[in-house]
Amino acid sequence: MLSSVSTLPFMKAEASDEELMLSYREGDAKAFEALYSRHKGALYRFILRRCGQPAVAEELYQEVWMKLIRAREGYTVKARFTTWMYQVARNHCIDYYRRQSVAVINDQQGSLGIEAFEDQQSKQPDQQLELQQQTTQLMQLVEALPVEQREAFLLREEAGLGLNEIAEITGVNPETAKSRLRYAINKLRAGLNQS
């Protein structure tokens, strides 16, 4: 059943992410290329805006794909590919800051400590300057959102995910995801109206 995907080339164009990943598992490199070009922009921007400066984002972006590549052999369809991919990305991002931080250890009730730390990180002055020069007004507003809200917004805009998937990726219930997203868009609107 699975191999039929790779033997029918016309299906490639519409093949789902999961089908492409299964084809790649069976040894089809073209399937991976298709998958990669489908997601590269959104994933990169998610990491860049969720996790910080370009140098870090590039490193993390590469790590995430490497992880997906290495997971090839054991891949089975358990969840949507995008959900899995963004989960991996988010975890790498959190791990990165955990490695960086010495004084904050993870707190089982959620990663509030880590996130607070990340926010501190993203407010370093030279980075602020860089962002002001490079990004539009909306992007500045996005950058200014608290990390949970920013994350929810990016998963919606970049990855095109629904509330349930955002909730799953960020490890909260859908109501929480909903309220984070609501806060995010309200703040962004308010910020745009002000100017």
Binding site: E33, K40, E58, Y61, Q62, L138, L181
Partner: protein, 426 residues
């Protein structure tokens, strides 16, 4: 208002919002081209090694099965053994009697596993440790055997007609797969009455019986060190030699380590050196050094021809390791109701726990007479003020730890620089 918000959110989620449209132009940027190439190349390389032919999969599964079954089989056999070495084991006792009659009394362990292959020793116990769940299963399986043996003992007491002339051991009841054959007289469980079935169904006894058996045969960890005061003496027992230094280091006695005699009361070494007989008794009971006040896990007595030395032995740290400690009092101020403050000491020198609100961790060290705690770090959650205050006080005291002791009720007291204490209990 929340309706308005929901409507706005729904519009947004349906993609009808100006916000999404304005975000669009920002979507331009992507990863640099060199990353694209790097990742796609890595993806190709990953599939380069040819796929394993399909037949290797069942083959490797088969190989794993063979090894796995072998390990399980060995553990299974091993696991049966403590049950048999337990002093109450009817079969083992019986077999010993038989052998005694035949004048070939050997040590009990050998009897207990007559057909066990090469010394199982540490290797197997490592496997046992690595497979705790499996061990539980095995203990469960072994349990009925033990129950039945207990029952048999009762039966034998009531059965005065000694009818076991030439009977075989019911091997299965011992929870071991080997064929044990104790020559002439052995116990046989013939048809079990309903009573034994009842006993066999009681699951509670299984882990207990195994643990009991382990305790009886528990070795002292070598090299074992002990010391005492007035006059100061020290004792070191290593694999091959025992060194006893007495009279504040003026007299030294070295001899090879004899076989340890393990009894329920503890371990005993009988030795003779330089013309005098010595007896070293190591009891598994908590001990406090009379000079430093440092607690130790074992009480040691050395009986010599002209004097008896008393002291403490073992590693102090072993008293701290293991289960989590619950804090009951901080600096004589009590503890806020329902707040949970805990301490865990681990073998790798880490200390961690819950400080009431946040989690903390750090390192600790025991050197000589001192317990010291390194810089503690904690999470930064906010809690009600009273709890935060208690937490700060606790962490401050713990940071200042200098030593520990046990009170008469078995609670552990962590002593700090300014004479303040933290009382903890398991």
């Amino acid at each position: 208002m929340s309706n308005d918000n929901d409507k706005e959110l729904n519009d947004y989620l349906q993609g009808n919002s100006e916000l999404s449209q304005r975000y669009q132009p920002d979507k331009g940027s992507g990863p640099p081209a060199h990353l694209d190439k790097l990742i796609l190349d890595a993806a190709k390389n990953e599939i380069k090694p040819p796929h394993m032919p399909r037949w290797t999969v069942p083959l490797s599964i088969a190989a794993v099965m063979v090894i796995g079954v072998g390990i399980v089989f060995n553990i299974y056999r091993e696991q049966g053994q403590p049950l048999m070495t337990a002093p109450e084991s009817t079969v083992a006792t019986k077999a010993r009697d038989v052998l005694k009659e035949q004048g070939e009394m050997e040590n009990r362990q050998q009897i207990a596993r007559p057909s066990a292959p090469a010394e199982p020793g540490r290797g197997t116990s490592a496997i046992n440790r690595a497979l705790p769940s499996l061990n539980m299963e095995l203990a469960d399986q072994a349990a009925p055997g033990r129950k039945r043996m207990i029952w048999e003992k009762q039966e034998k007491k009531t059965q005065t007609d000694d009818s076991q002339d030439k009977q075989d051991t019911d091997v299965a009841m011992l929870g071991a797969t080997d064929t044990y054959n104790y020559d002439e007289k052995t116990v046989r469980s013939e048809k079990q009455p309903a009573m034994s079935a009842d006993l066999a169904l009681d699951p509670a006894l299984a882990p207990v019986s195994v643990a009991e058996a382990d305790q009886v045969t528990a070795d002292i960890e070598l090299p074992f060190k002990a010391m005492g005061n007035e006059p100061g003496w020290s004792l070191t027992i290593s694999e091959d030699q025992i060194e006893l230094v007495t009279s504040y280091g003026q007299e030294k006695l070295v001899t090879s380590t004899p076989e340890v005699i393990t009894t329920e009361a503890g371990s005993r070494y009988l030795l003779s050196a330089e013309g005098q007989a010595l007896e070293i008794t190591i009891r598994d009971s908590r001990c406090r050094d009379s000079m430093s006040g440092m607690p130790y896990p074992r009480t040691v007595k050395v009986i010599m021809s002209d004097k008896t030395l008393s002291g403490c032995g073992g590693q102090s740290v072993s008293l701290l390791l293991g289960d989590e400690w619950i804090v009951e009092d901080i600096g004589n101020k009590g503890i806020i109701d329902f707040s949970r403050v805990t301490i865990n000491f681990s073998e790798d020198g880490r200390i961690h726990g819950l400080a009431g609100c946040n989690q903390y961790s750090g390192s600790y060290q025991i050197s000589g007479e001192l317990l010291s705690v390194g810089l503690l770090i904690s999470t930064r959650r906010a809690c009600p003020e009273a709890l935060m205050n208690q937490e700060a006080f606790f962490l401050e005291l713990l940071q200042l730890a200098t030593g520990f002791d046990f009170d008469e009720h078995g609670a552990l007291i962590i002593k700090t620089k300014e004479g303040k204490t933290i009382l903890i209990r398991r």
